[in-house]
């Protein structure tokens, strides 16, 4: 299937949104702005998911990341008083080394993708997947992982509460 120009343009716009959001999330000085930019990246990714016909994953992405993770992040920012921009630099002392390593990772990944370009399939698979199928798969084939995730989420919730909870006795000392 030759990709039509409209699709390509849409893809470029969404990718630009995602990448810009990601860059802003990493580069901005104010941590709250970073969190908001991160939300932008998340939304961009969710839209990319929708472009890939993964409706369920896309909406789940918005619900979980924008509705929960982003909120958690801003809560953490406010609770740790990180919202004021620090006087010292926001980048660590070894930022250059980090940047080089990250660039190297991207280079390797991009190289790998481009090298395998001829082997990649061009046409998307045909069947459109309905939410019903996903539900059936979750309750059938994937029911054990689902249960484990449920247990994991419960454990994580309890763990997070315990870790973040105020220890009364220590303050009393």
């Amino acid at each position: 299937m030759p990709s039509n120009p409209g699709d390509v343009i849409l893809f470029v716009i969404l990718s630009a949104l995602t990448v810009a959001g990601g860059l802003a999330a990493v580069l901005l000085r104010n941590v709250v702005h970073c969190a908001l930019a991160l939300t932008g990246a998340f939304i961009g990714l969710a839209l990319l998911f929708l472009r890939l016909d993964a409706q369920f994953a896309g909406f789940a992405q918005i619900l979980v990341y924008v509705g929960a993770v982003a909120i958690l992040v801003v809560f953490a920012i406010l609770l740790t008083r990180s919202s004021e921009t620090p006087a010292t630099g926001v980048f660590s002392k070894t930022w250059l080394a980090g940047l080089v390593v990250a660039a190297a990772v991207f280079a390797v990944l991009a190289w790998a993708v481009l090298q395998s370009e001829p082997a990649l399939p061009h046409a998307p698979g045909e069947p459109q997947v309905s939410v019903m199928q996903i539900g059936n798969a979750l309750m059938g084939q994937y029911v054990l992982p689902l249960e484990i995730v449920a247990v994991l989420l419960t454990a994580a919730m309890i763990g997070a509460v315990i870790v973040a909870m105020h220890e009364k006795k220590e303050t009393a000392k």
């Binding site: 619900l63 801003v74 609770l79 939410v131 105020h166």
Partner: protein, 395 residues
């Protein structure tokens, strides 16, 4: 002849849209169709917003033994127009210290996100803007995004009251979003679909002239009650209006907004109420289906509007009746009563599925829920020994 006329009346907006779309060249047709639908939704619900505000002001006035607005136009019915004009021409004051970009974006995000929710609501037969497979999930994704705009508004204002209001609002919205989702899951379990069209369609059946609305099943009714509570909290309405508790924190997260941005928040809040009423109506009250089989001659969109406006009346009535909760009561109520009851309801819904047809499941499910609600209610009514409250900070 009459039935055909009724059908045409039912589908009048759809036919109108098709007619207009057919007038433009083929490549532009999808675009024009989308624009028409969006415009229709915005116009209709903005109008309903105006009516709702007027209703609220008049109704509250009646409940508080005063007149309410009665100067602009006959009986004051032009008051919303006056309010709108006033908001538009008012000076837009932004605090000096505020984070201008975020401050500007917050109300826009709210309004956009709230209107997005309408994309999946079936307003009438064949009248869903985007009939999506995972419509319910989309709706909740949009609802969750609204929290972010609240945070943006509160944080960017650089005002303690705004921040407090935002924190309250977010805590409250997250807490009540879970029961809201869970109650919807009950409906999803009963229909086996996340599509709101399908959910409305399933309820559009009649036995002895009575509709198959989910509110008329034991767990549907219980879920509806919980949904109503959670929806009230989710839209920050009285008695859960702590985020804007004017006696404590002025106006909460939109304290520092004025003029048109304030109007946007106001609009967002009411449109969110209308939309969540619409969701409730779709999930539990049969969406656009008529309450009696014989009333099917009346167009479906009419019933939808009637249902959401009735819900608005209930919102107003509650606001006029109930006192505001305290923050800890609010949280306790959400996590220790609403959520467990909803989970129980979920299990009952499962039981209902597995018990198969017959009168027995009605009896058993009703009995379990009734017992749980009575016991839970009695336990909750008991006066607890409130000691000095302790708060936890991340110090």
């Amino acid at each position: 002849m009459t039935s055909s006329f009724a059908e045409n009346l039912d589908q009048i907006f759809v036919l109108l849209k098709h007619w207009i779309v057919a007038l433009v060249p083929v490549p532009l047709q999808p675009l024009v169709g989308a624009v028409l639908s969006v415009a229709a939704i915005i116009v209709v619900f903005a109008t309903l917003f105006a009516i709702a505000v007027l209703m609220e002001r008049k109704g509250l006035g009646r409940m508080q033994n005063r007149y309410g607005p009665n100067r602009v136009g006959p009986l004051g019915i032009l008051q919303p127009a006056a309010d709108g004009i006033k908001a538009l021409i008012k000076e837009d004051v932004v605090p000096y210290n505020a984070d201008h970009v975020v401050h500007f974006l917050a109300p826009i995000v709210l309004v956009v996100v709230v209107f997005m929710g309408y994309a999946v609501l079936p307003i009438g037969r064949n009248m869903t803007f985007v009939p999506m497979d995972a419509g319910l999930l989309f709706y909740f994704a949009m609802g969750a995004s609204a929290e972010l705009s609240v945070f943006m508004a509160g944080w960017s204002s650089r005002n303690k009251y705004s921040m407090l209001g935002a924190m309250r609002a977010i805590a409250q919205m997250i807490s009540y979003e879970i029961p809201l989702l869970m109650t919807s899951v009950i409906v999803v379990m009963m229909t086996g679909s996340l599509s709101l069209d399908k959910i409305a369609e399933v309820q559009n059946q009649y036995t002895w002239g009575l509709p198959h609305w989910f509110v008329f099943t034991p767990m549907g009714f219980a879920a509806f009650v919980m949904f109503a509570i959670a929806a009230t909290a989710e839209t920050n309405r009285s008695p859960f209006d702590l985020p804007e508790g004017e006696s404590e924190i002025i106006a909460g997260y939109f304290t520092e907004y004025s003029g048109f941005k304030f109007a946007e928040f106001f609009l967002g809040e009411y449109v969110a109420m209308l939309s969540i009423s619409g969701l409730g109506a779709t999930l539990f009250l049969g969406g656009w289906s008529a309450p009696l089989e014989v009333l099917n001659v009346v167009p479906s969109w009419f019933w939808f509007v009637v249902k959401i406006m009735t819900a608005m009346c209930v919102f107003i009535w509650m606001r006029g009746t109930l006192p505001r909760l305290r923050q800890d009561q609010l949280m306790n109520f959400a996590w220790k009563f609403v959520l467990p009851m909803t989970l129980l309801d979920l299990m009952v819904a499962g039981l209902w599925r597995f018990m198969g047809e017959g009168i027995l499941r009605w009896v058993v499910c009703s009995a379990i829920l009734l017992a749980a609600y009575v016991i839970g209610g009695r336990a909750g009514m008991k006066r607890e020994q409130f000691g000095p409250r302790s708060y936890r900070y991340a110090e």
